[in-house]
């Protein structure tokens, strides 16, 4: 029997620079958006995606040929790419947009990613990205990319078992009320759920090394994509504020409050 020819995995990890999850955001006075002059970091779900890719490398060693991070964003998004590189990505692509540009919509991001994938000489076998970004909370990009590519998709992944030789993966997904397992042919788009992996902190030596890793800079026009938003954001407002802070001193008072609201034992 002839040995199975060695197959190699090329992984692409799209990441987004987002307002840090711990920041209490404020709507700006013009009601056009939020005050963005606050701490930013990599979208937490994308950190999980980078971690998953790096773990695949640790498991499959040289069979994971490349881990490439990509972001679409203003010059400062380079920091986010450096974080991905420090965590273990080999190289990165920065599709740079001007600081003043509106954030591109998921469909435009998906089209950009498609254009980048089509430029990769070695191809891309696996795209891993967050299930949603915690700023716009849209949760669309992975599925849109999958649709545009006509590839397999596994959203809300909590476990990914890749079989490189068979060119497939069995993915456990979190769904309403439980879980689901699917078998996906590569190439595949995976979107990460919270419990897929615990992202690592990059070590100082790795942060230093990341500064020397290659970052290819591209523009939307290089890729022939239009990042102009299709939807119009008319305004951004504060949500109705909840008047909380009511306190009681005892369980009896608590029960009285429940009864007042018509809540009793069934």
């Amino acid at each position: 029997m002839r040995p199975t020819p060695a197959r190699l995995l090329n992984i692409l990890v799209p990441v987004k620079r987002a307002v840090d999850y711990a920041v209490k955001i404020r709507v700006n006075p013009q009601q056009t958006g939020i005050d963005t002059n606050v701490k930013h970091s990599m979208n937490p779900f994308d950190e999980i995606a980078v971690e998953e890719a790096v773990r695949l490398r640790e498991r499959f060693k040289d069979e994971v040929k490349s881990i490439k991070a990509i972001t679409i964003g203003p010059p400062k998004s380079l920091d986010t790419l450096r974080t991905a590189l420090a965590m273990g990505a080999d190289s990165a692509i920065h599709v740079e947009i001007p600081e003043s540009s509106p954030s591109p919509e998921p469909l435009a991001v998906a089209k950009t990613l498609k254009a980048v994938i089509e430029r990769q000489k070695e191809g891309v076998d696996l795209v891993i990205l967050g299930k949603q970004s915690i700023d716009d909370d849209l949760g669309l990009t992975g599925q849109m990319l999958s649709g545009l590519m006509g590839w397999s998709q596994a959203t809300f992944a909590s476990k990914v078992d890749v079989d490189i030789a068979k060119k497939e993966a069995v993915v456990t997904r979190e769904i309403d009320g439980g879980g689901e397992e699917v078998r996906c042919k590569l190439p595949l788009i995976v979107t990460t759920d919270l419990r897929l992996k615990e992202p690592r902190y990059a070590s100082l030596p790795n942060i230093m090394k990341a500064k020397k890793k290659p970052v290819e800079k591209l523009s939307a026009s290089d890729l022939g994509v239009d990042l102009t938003p299709i939807l119009e954001t008319l305004k951004v407002t504060e949500p109705p504020q909840r008047v909380g802070g009511g306190k009681v001193e005892s369980v009896d008072e608590l029960v009285a409050k429940l009864k007042e609201a018509g809540i009793t034992a069934v």
Binding site: I134, T141, E180, V266
Partner: protein, 326 residues
């Protein structure tokens, strides 16, 4: 306008989130068709129920063994067919379920149109064929008002079910039913292997009118169950959990309430030993009455709670059960 509403179902029952999506679709002010897909043993029963729903003009249904536990790769071609061949549809509407979240963006991208997730209100302007939506962003800490202009030929959106009441059955309603041929996908790149739904005798978290939620203070899975379940049973409530409790393994991840878990808005939300991180508040702050019990008087949950009690939940809960039973 003419909306196509994706009606989901499970075990012979129409999904209540889909019924909220139907209510949202009615606010467009035009015709409404529902789409039911499923296996041969599922579709006839669901269609019988669906055609009695208030406000529906027609029920499209498509039956295939491949639709019994469908993956987006298999369902997308059916949607594409319905939405391209001289399609009358101007809007595609679904609830923000895990199935729709996977499917809707895939279909939208294939038709080269954007999609709008988890809307909480909408207004359609028939004069200029634009639809304006509001939706929470930044974990509900801001509300965006977004317009899909007439250039978006088909407007895809998913609906936050807590923002709309469920459409009801109407006496005498009998919408027209139309069978749609399934689109065979012989070589789907994705195969469904199995689904595991966490079994519970309690009400479903997503639709329950009362929710009892526990956080990290519940110590372990046994303590979580032995503390919360008796109280939930007395109140006929669903059980929820904070991310911390789920991450620590105290509760199944399907019980997580928050920005990335379930969004709930029950009559009563009782948070026990939950500090109230922004991400948790995003999932429950629209509840009608919020009760919080926490040892820490500075816990952020008290800022949104209508009724706060600074105390040890292990002393409070048994007393509460006893006093409620009286």
């Amino acid at each position: 306008p003419h909306a196509l509403v994706f009606l989901e179902h499970r075990q012979g029952i129409l999904d209540s989130g889909s019924l909220s999506a139907l209510t949202a679709a009615q606010q467009l002010g035009g015709k409404i068709s529902a789409l039911v897909v499923g296996g041969p043993d599922q579709v006839p029963g669901i269609v019988e129920k669906a055609k009695k729903l208030k406000g529906l003009d027609s029920v499209l249904h498509s039956t295939s063994p491949q639709y019994s536990a469908p993956v987006p790769e298999v369902l997308s071609p059916l949607f594409e067919k319905l939405l391209t061949e001289s399609s009358p549809f101007t809007h595609v509407v679904s609830t923000t379920s895990s199935a729709a979240k996977s499917l809707i963006p895939r279909v939208a991208a294939r038709l080269n149109v954007p999609a709008i997730s988890d809307i909480t209100s909408l207004v359609h302007d028939a004069a200029d064929s634009s639809t304006t939506f509001t939706r929470p962003i930044y974990a509900g800490n801001a509300i965006a008002t977004v317009r899909a202009p007439s250039s978006v030929s088909i407007k895809f959106f998913t609906v936050r079910s807590t923002a709309f009441s469920a459409a009801s059955i109407q006496e005498g309603a009998d919408a027209e039913t139309l069978a749609v041929d399934p689109v065979d996908v012989p070589d789907s790149p994705t195969q469904h292997l199995k689904t595991t739904i966490a079994k519970s005798d309690r009400p479903d978290l997503g639709v329950a009118s009362r929710v009892i939620s526990g956080g990290r203070a519940l110590k372990d899975a046994n303590t979580f169950a032995s503390t919360l379940y008796p109280l939930a049973d007395v109140l006929g409530a669903a059980v929820g959990a904070s991310r911390a409790a789920v991450d620590a393994g105290y509760a199944d991840n399907s019980l997580q309430v928050g920005q990335t878990g379930k969004v709930v808005a029950p009559e009563l939300y009782m948070a026990l030993g939950i500090s109230g991180a922004i991400q948790h508040l995003a999932g429950m702050k629209d509840s009608k009455l919020i009760v919080a019990v926490n040892k820490d008087p500075d816990a952020p949950i008290f800022q949104v709670a209508d009724v706060g009690l600074v105390a040890d939940l292990y002393e409070v809960v048994p007393q509460l059960i006893e006093k409620l039973k009286k």
